[in-house]
């Protein structure tokens, strides 16, 4: 009797479809920040955090050099080419309480600049201060959409 009950429960458990893996879309952008006498308007893609960028880095103009959006549904590593020289590798590790844990590696050409883990909530940008460039500064922005 007990054996039959256990089998029934196991069958029911297997019959329930596995919860679909939550897909997270990671947006990465390379931003060029500079100080200009007549700064142009902040691009729409940076509107959500443009003021934060200006406040933290102290520049009055922002240009979006390149951007990449990737849907991460599993732990496969994805590449985010950023500009001519930079590449970001991101691997989704886990999703818990609405926060996504990523393994990140940032390269400048073939040179590893930094590797880290980052746990990001939705619409919570993370800024990476990149190298100085021309008269300004390069900044990498990551955000889970």
């Amino acid at each position: 009797m007990i054996k039959a009950l256990c089998l029934l429960l196991a069958a029911l458990f297997l019959a329930v479809p596995a919860k679909a893996q939550e897909t997270r879309t990671l947006w990465a952008g390379l931003v060029y920040a500079s100080n200009e006498p007549e700064p142009s308007a902040t691009p729409g893609a940076l509107a959500g955090f443009g003021e934060k960028l200006k406040s933290v880095f102290g520049y009055n103009q922002l240009q979006l050099v390149s951007e990449r959006r990737e849907a991460l549904s599993d732990s496969t590593e994805r590449t985010f080419p950023l500009g001519k020289k930079f590449r970001l590798f991101a691997t989704r590790k886990s999703v818990k309480d609405g926060k996504t844990l990523f393994d990140l590696r940032l390269f400048q050409e073939d040179r590893l600049l930094v590797q880290t883990q980052a746990k990001l909530g939705r619409q919570s940008p993370l800024f990476l201060r990149g190298p100085l460039c021309d008269k300004g500064q390069l900044i990498i922005v990551l955000q889970v959409e």
């Binding site: 934060k52 933290v56 050099v65 600049l113 880290t116 883990q117 619409q123 460039c133």
Partner: protein, 167 residues
């Protein structure tokens, strides 16, 4: 100068200046010869003590200190009024102060070892865990800007680039 006990001791020990000694002896008046004899005897005794008496050498100083402290504490507990709470070497205020300092150190240590994170304020959450620079010239320091409500991974020591700012 009046012949007080302090002045007398200083006079015996020869610590008075010539003028002070003269005034002191004048104040003694007729008693000077007798007091003079006392001074000589006191000087002889002092010299004898200085040359002959040597303090006993302590063979076990720590044990002696311990015994002395035990004796003092026992004496204090005997003389303390019964209503007074027993002391255990450290006062309550000092214990509170030490506790506060320890808590402060613990909070600072926790903040130092925890990764930089921020969550809650206006729904923002970004946490950087254990960043490792690619080489020894680069430093990677995460911080949270309260003003901008954003987490930043600050990379320093990167080579300047050019031309990347143009699409």
């Amino acid at each position: 100068m009046t012949p007080s006990e302090e002045n007398f001791t200083a006079w015996v020990d020869g610590r008075l200046s010539r003028e002070e000694a003269a005034r002191f002896e004048e104040a003694l008046g007729d008693a000077l010869p007798e007091v003079g004899r006392d001074r000589e005897e006191a000087r002889k005794l002092g010299n004898l003590l200085r040359t002959q008496w040597k303090p006993a050498e302590l063979t076990n100083g720590d044990f002696f200190n311990h015994q002395l402290l035990e004796r003092i504490q026992a004496e204090e507990s005997r003389t303390r009024p019964p209503s007074e709470p027993a002391r255990h070497g450290v006062s309550l205020w000092r214990l509170l102060w030490i506790g506060s300092v320890c808590c402060g150190i613990a909070v600072m240590a926790t903040m130092a070892v925890q990764p930089v994170e921020h969550g809650g304020a206006r729904g923002y959450y970004a946490q950087v865990l254990n960043p490792k620079p690619g080489n020894s010239k680069i430093s990677a320091k995460p911080f949270y800007s309260r003003k901008a409500n954003v987490t930043v991974l600050w990379l320093d020591g990167l080579d300047r680039v050019s031309g990347e700012g143009r699409k």
